[in-house]
């Protein structure tokens, strides 16, 4: 039997991207329009109820997918842009580059990413662009470590030696022989990075340091609904389930690549 995990992961990702792209079509109300119906329980008109300003929670969750999509992919791209070159250089050239990179990577991996992200975000100010860069910065070391390990393994193979023997330059060998061999693992790590970025950014905004309001953002929605847990549990559990499903989707897709 085939492993169902990557398929489940890809299905969750597809649903998430579709919701983000089709948000204006799917959302029953405007995510920003307030009304007098405040903290209404779920009804046929408002499936997840309304928030403290009378805004439709479901529509805000649907639009929140867009924020998560931008942050998730943006931050993962940032992490790749730093981590892949550093990992490739350290793994391929070894020597001084490696001796400098490895302790730095190990140190950053040990530090709690969320605490670092909180400190940096409060200093530079929370905005979409800043969050993308902060999360990318917090995540690059794990990308670099993985790429370095993979590069090290490929570097020792016979075909790299052969490529060197026929006079291939380092740049050519990396492009033609190393990169194609580690591409798959890097792609899987990209999915993991997206999952981690969405996880961390939701935690940040749950703690009050996310995208500034009124932009709908899952972590912020969970936080807002938490105060009304006994009145309308779906107000926080709804957006919470959206974060969980998305994080799970990217994690499943990324972790099933061996």
């Amino acid at each position: 039997m085939r492993d169902p995990r990557p398929i489940a992961g890809l299905a969750l990702i597809a649903a998430f991207v579709a919701v983000a792209v089709l948000a204006p079509v799917l959302a029953p109300h405007s995510p920003l329009a307030s009304s007098v119906a405040m903290i209404d329980p779920p009804s046929a008109r408002h499936w997840l109820g309304t928030d403290e300003l009378g805004r439709d929670v479901l529509s805000r969750v649907i639009y929140g997918a867009r924020t998560s999509l931008v942050i998730g992919f943006g931050a993962a791209c940032c992490a790749m842009l730093i981590g892949v070159p550093v990992g490739l250089m350290a793994g391929f050239f070894r020597g001084r580059v490696d001796m400098l990179a490895v302790p730095l990577i190990d140190l950053f991996i040990a530090l709690p990413g969320l605490v670092l992200a909180l400190i940096i975000t409060v200093m530079v100010g929370p905005s979409l662009a800043n969050l993308v860069m902060v999360l990318g910065f917090v995540m690059w070391p794990s990308v670099a470590r993985l790429v370095r390990g993979q590069t090290l393994a490929v570097r020792e193979t016979l075909y790299i030696e052969a490529a060197r023997a026929v006079g291939g330059t380092s740049a050519w060998i990396i492009r033609r022989h190393v990169w194609p061999n580690i591409r798959r693992v890097v792609a899987a790590q990209f999915a993991i990075a997206v999952s981690l970025a969405i996880f961390t950014s939701a935690s940040l905004s749950f703690l009050g340091l996310g995208i500034p309001p009124p932009t709908p953002d899952w972590g912020g929605l969970v936080r807002a609904g938490f105060d009304f847990l006994s009145l309308n549990p779906l107000m926080s559990l709804g957006p919470g389930a959206a974060v969980t499903a998305t994080v799970m989707g990217f994690y499943l897709a990324g972790s099933s690549v061996k």
Binding site: P112, L118, S203, V222
Partner: protein, 312 residues
């Protein structure tokens, strides 16, 4: 072995100095200014200059770092910007809460991960359950898990108090009742990570010759699993516990906020929300230094637990 431990402790000192200095200069000079953070973007230049003079933020960076570290060595971490309370005092009050939360969580995560993956009966069903639990532990964010537990056990079933914390002096039962959900929340992620690491190692160990020998001697499956395979498969988990201690402080930040626990994590979050620079800096420095020390301790524990290295 003693010389090894002492040497390791000594080599950790430059790392602690370097990383704390990096954090210090980042928040005081590179990422922005303390005055800008505390007073906001619209503060007048006079107000900023006055604050800088009062706290000494206008001095050279190296001097500020030196003064801060010298103060820390004396147990003086400055005063909170918002409450004017001693920062060291505030942190000292919070540390026991966070420490207890983390220790229980690690203990629960390790025990559950090891036991569930070692039990030699009902493997098929057990593997399914642990695989699902691993996935849930790793992908469900702390805040979501915490709120779901509050909804289930407090709002719906009414078994446990929703938030708040009670000291040991309020009674052991009351204390543990209030610790149950936070510990469960914080341990979930680490359970997932430890479980995956341990399971991979356990499967590897189970193939080895000495396990077959143990079985051939007629030992029961339980004895083979817990007495012979477990001690040999647990080593990588020890390393992971060390690495996780650092990450755990991040999880504790969210968990303490969800359950309104008076620990360092919540102190840190309220310092950030209240733009209280001295408190934020002090907690940040402590976490960073603590992570390095924890990693070192895990390294030493690994050496002590591994006879292959111990007897060299």
């Amino acid at each position: 072995m003693m010389t090894m431990i002492v040497r390791r402790l000594l080599t950790a000192i430059p790392t602690v100095v370097a990383i704390t200095a990096l954090l210090f200069f980042s928040v005081t000079h590179i990422l922005g200014s303390p005055a800008g953070m505390m007073l906001g973007q619209d503060a007048s230049p006079q107000a900023i200059a006055a604050l800088n003079a009062k706290y000494g933020f206008d001095r050279p960076a190296l001097l500020q770092y030196g003064a801060w570290m010298a103060g820390a060595a004396r147990g003086d971490l400055g005063r909170s910007f918002t409450t004017q309370q001693s920062v060291a005092r505030a942190i000292a009050d919070c540390i026991p809460v966070t420490l207890e939360l983390t220790l229980w969580s690690i203990l629960l995560a390790v025990t559950a991960a090891v036991v569930l993956n070692t039990i030699p009966v009902g493997k098929r069903a057990l593997t399914g359950v642990t695989t699902a639990a691993n996935l849930i532990g790793i992908t469900v964010p702390n805040f979501m898990l915490g709120i779901s537990l509050i909804f289930l056990f407090s709002v719906w079933l009414g078994w446990l108090p929703s938030t708040g914390w009670a000291p040991w002096s309020a009674g052991v039962g009351e204390h543990l009742r209030r610790m149950a959900m936070p510990v469960l929340t914080l341990s979930a992620y680490y359970f997932g990570v430890f479980s995956i690491v341990y399971r991979a190692e356990y499967r590897d160990v189970a193939q080895r010759m000495f396990i077959q020998v143990a079985r051939a001697k007629g030992l029961s499956e339980w004895r083979v699993a817990f007495k012979h395979a477990l001690p040999n498969a647990i080593l990588p988990v020890i390393t992971f516990v060390g690495i996780s201690m650092g990450q755990l402080t991040g999880g504790a930040v969210v968990t303490e906020t969800v359950f309104s626990m008076p620990g360092t994590g919540r102190l840190f979050v309220s310092a950030i929300a209240g733009h209280d620079f001295p408190v934020m800096l002090a907690v940040g420095m402590l976490v960073v230094a603590g992570v390095i020390v924890m990693n070192l301790l895990a390294d030493i524990a690994y050496t002590v637990a591994n006879p292959q290295i111990r007897f060299e």
